[in-house]
């Protein structure tokens, strides 16, 4: 069964590869950061599969950190893309 789980993890790496193609193509920075977000979710799934395949619960902690910090790059991006680089897209225009 471990080998099967590892095989599925390899399949999810293909989804990471698809995300990399979107990072390459863009066209906007928003597209690229969205692809990074999607790759993050795939990475979490890969780690959980590795945890089950290796019967090593400590790997779940790696997935936990990645899930906890999953939004950070995108948050930094929306902040830097706002009008003064420090704001939030939901603020009313000044």
């Amino acid at each position: 069964m471990s080998a099967v789980l590892l095989g599925f993890a390899a399949f999810l790496l293909l989804s990471v590869a698809g995300g990399l193609i979107r990072v390459l193509r863009g066209p906007d920075a928003a597209d690229r950061i969205m692809a990074v977000q999607l790759i993050g979710t795939s990475g979490v799934a890969v780690l959980l599969l590795l945890a089950a395949a290796g019967a090593n619960p400590a790997i779940v902690d790696v997935a936990l950190i990645m899930a906890l910090l999953a939004a950070f790059a995108a948050v930094a991006f929306v902040k830097s893309a706002s009008a003064d680089g420090l704001g939030d897209p939901e603020e009313p225009d000044p």
Binding site: V4, L20, V36
Partner: protein
């Protein structure tokens, strides 16, 4: 072809591709995005190398701090500087550079293949000494007992880096507030996220430090998570990072290294600098780790926030 080999081969291929795209790309934001993905793939590689402690550190830094650091630095540089990459060498120079770098990589590859495949490294020595170390996680034992010198000096290096970053401030802003004022709509999605996540982050960080004595985890991983969460709260406009001259902040920054040094000095009185008596080792290591977690979190957060840029909030 076993599934393990397929997985590892694909993973290595993707990591190399992401690194090449980050280095060779045309769009700088794309390069940064590729680099963030690269960090994630390397974290998975550490898991495959059975180095969960390293994977935890790489995940915390790659997913959390690197993204904030690089994306905000890129935005600031693009606002102030011309974006052209001037003065890159001609085709011939690039080919020469590529050949040279391929040579270095080839030499390293040769070195890896020439190693004795049965080499055991320091593993047997560490397993032998582990019962006296006070903790069951051999990596924590190396960091805080066997090679505590390295860890102590590293925590001091972090402080020096922070002082260097602060020293880049304009004269008028010395001792002021790091970075510029961040703001967000107070009832918006970002602010809500900034309020919901910290409780989870605190629990995860404390858990990582606590688990680090017997399982993968420790002060560096926990401290990095705390730093990332603190920066998120600041970015969501909920709190401001403190003035760099603030006494509580400076106390938090030096507490960990100072306490570590004091423990080392007590050890010196008993015979060996940084020597830990096996009976007391666990309690001492946990106390030093708690102090280091606090100081590492404060230092990393302020390092990423940058030099003081204003004196009024």
């Amino acid at each position: 072809m076993t599934p393990a080999l397929v997985f590892d081969g694909l993973l290595a291929l993707l990591a190399v591709a992401a690194a090449m795209a980050a280095i060779g790309g045309r769009d700088l934001f794309g390069s940064v995005a590729f680099f963030i993905v690269y960090g994630l793939l390397i974290a998975i590689a550490w898991v495959r190398l059975d180095a969960i402690d390293v994977a935890l550190a790489e995940a915390a830094i790659g997913a959390g701090l690197t993204g904030i650091l690089l994306i905000s630095a890129l935005a600031r540089v693009e606002r102030t500087a011309s974006s052209g990459e001037s003065g890159e060498g001609g085709r011939l120079a690039k080919i020469a550079a590529a050949l040279l770098c391929a040579g270095v990589a080839g030499a390293l590859a040769w070195a890896a293949l020439a190693l004795d495949p049965q080499g055991a490294g320091l593993t047997p020595l560490i397993s032998e000494a582990l019962p006296q170390a006070g903790v069951g996680n051999p990596v924590t034992a190396v960091l805080l007992n066997f090679r505590a010198y390295d860890t102590l000096l590293e925590s001091i290096v972090l402080l020096f880096a922070l002082v260097a970053v602060w020293s880049l401030a304009d004269d008028g802003n010395w001792g002021g507030l790091p970075g510029l004022r961040q703001h967000a709509r107070s009832d918006g999605v970002l602010a809500t996220f900034g309020r919901l996540l910290p409780p989870f982050g605190l629990v995860v960080a404390v858990y990582l430090v606590w688990a680090g004595s017997e399982n993968p985890g420790g002060a560096f991983q926990g401290g990095t998570v705390l730093a990332a969460i603190w920066l998120l709260v600041a970015m969501a406009g909920i709190t401001e990072l403190p003035r760099v001259s603030s006494l509580p902040l400076r106390a938090a920054l030096v507490f960990g290294p100072a306490f570590f040094l004091a423990v080392g000095a007590i050890g010196a009185l008993a015979g060996t600098f940084l020597g830990l008596a096996p009976a007391a080792a666990k309690a001492i290591i946990l106390a030093v780790e708690a102090g280091l977690t606090l100081s590492i979190a404060a230092t990393l957060a302020l390092l990423v926030a940058g030099s003081p840029q204003r004196t009024q909030g």
